[in-house]
């Protein structure tokens, strides 16, 4: 009975896990421009950066699961016309750009290496309505419909139930997340004015690019030459 259960679990989990592991480098490459500078802008410390990574990945998972449910409801992510997918992608790019710019501005005013504790940099409006920047960025990268995500979405939509689709995505997500773990090592990078300024400037440059890409798609122009 136990052998059967193990075999069943292997059969159920192996496909999304292998797909996730194979897609990991692609996920790191697509999330990297958002994640790396924002992690560098936080304070140093392995625990703090692991906290950042956990929040980022957790909200990225929320984004994934949200789309897993939507994909299953619609029959497949492929059922969403590609023009609509491009528009969703474009809107998310513009939102990412805005959040990165806000984050870059806020980090300059937040407490830096003189502060204690594991508090992440928060963004937002009034004091009680601020959320960790890592959470917003993680969620937006999670819903950004990057190519490995679409492939997994197509496969997940073929499963028998919404629960199975969500499970498929969760395991896929786990596979991709293995590749993110080494980034916790950014916590060992010493933070000083140089590192924080570089990170903030890099966020601005990347935000400008995302804003351009999003706006060009929204107005129906080519993004690339």
């Amino acid at each position: 009975m136990l052998d059967f259960a193990i075999m069943a679990a292997v059969l159920v989990f192996s496909e999304p896990l292998v797909l996730g592991l194979a897609s990991g480098p692609a996920c790191v490459a697509s999330c990297g421009p958002v994640m790396v500078p924002s992690m560098l802008a936080e304070r140093a410390g392995l625990r703090l950066n692991m906290r950042y990574l956990s929040v980022f990945l957790a909200t990225r998972l929320v984004g994934y699961l949200l789309f897993a449910a939507v994909a299953w409801e619609l029959g497949a992510l492929a059922a969403i016309p590609s023009s609509a997918r491009s528009l969703i992608f474009a809107v998310i790019h513009v939102l990412l750009a805005c959040v990165l710019l806000r984050y870059a501005y806020t980090v300059g005013r937040a407490c830096s290496h003189s502060c204690e504790g594991l508090r992440l940099v928060t963004i937002g409006g009034a004091r009680n309505h601020r959320v960790p920047g890592a959470a917003v960025l993680g969620f937006l990268t999670g819903v950004s419909l990057c190519p490995p995500f679409v492939v997994a979405g197509v496969r997940a939509a073929e499963t028998a139930s919404m629960a199975a689709a969500v499970l498929f995505f969760a395991v896929f997500f786990l596979g991709t997340s293995v590749w993110f773990v080494p980034f916790a090592g950014l916590g060992w990078v010493r933070r000083n004015e140089a590192v924080t300024t570089v990170a903030r400037m890099a966020m601005v440059l990347i935000a400008v690019y995302y804003f351009y890409a999003g706006v060009m798609t929204l107005i129906g122009k080519n993004v690339y030459g």
Partner: protein, 163 residues
């Protein structure tokens, strides 16, 4: 200890001068071979992917390349490249059924003019007989994944795959 570090420093400096003198003689031999052995390749969106098959026509050949899949956020579509060569042996108008997949059934019908002037712009029409491939109407060289160009003594056509 100071003397040892100073000796090491001067040795390092001397070796550096030696390296500066040696560099021009090693550059094109040892280093180039070493770099080539790293197993790196130029992005196939540029290079077109490796050739997998050659089809012999009357007086020319058609090289069929392996399908190229773009990467991540590259805006290009997956495509397959076909090379007609040599250009000097091509008729003034090429209209060809091509079996890309090697299963004995034609997959696309490709037609283009071959101007005498090598600098004249090229245009291609592709009619897909296999739904895997996209149609192309009067396409020039706008995108890496859908184009017709002349490179040296070959005419290259890239046919995008339907997603």
């Amino acid at each position: 200890m100071r003397k040892l570090t100073a000796k090491l420093g001067y040795t390092g400096a001397g070796l550096t001068v030696f390296a500066a003198v040696l560099a021009p003689f090693l550059l094109y031999g040892v280093f180039t071979k070493g770099f080539s052995s790293l197993g790196l390749h130029v992005d196939e969106v540029y290079s077109g992917g490796p050739k997998v098959r050659t089809v012999q026509a009357a007086s020319y050949t058609i090289d069929i390349h392996r399908q190229v899949s773009p990467h991540l956020f590259q805006s290009e579509k997956p495509f397959v490249q076909l090379d007609w060569k040599p250009v000097s042996s091509l008729p003034p108008h090429v209209s060809e059924l091509v079996d890309i997949e090697g299963d004995g059934k034609p997959d696309v019908h490709v037609s283009f003019d071959v101007p005498k002037d090598p600098k004249a712009p090229l245009r291609v029409n592709v009619e897909p007989l296999n739904p895997r491939y996209e149609a192309m109407q009067n396409v020039g060289k706008d995108k890496f994944s859908a184009l017709i160009v002349r490179v040296d003594d070959a005419i290259l056509v890239r046919i995008p795959l339907a997603r």
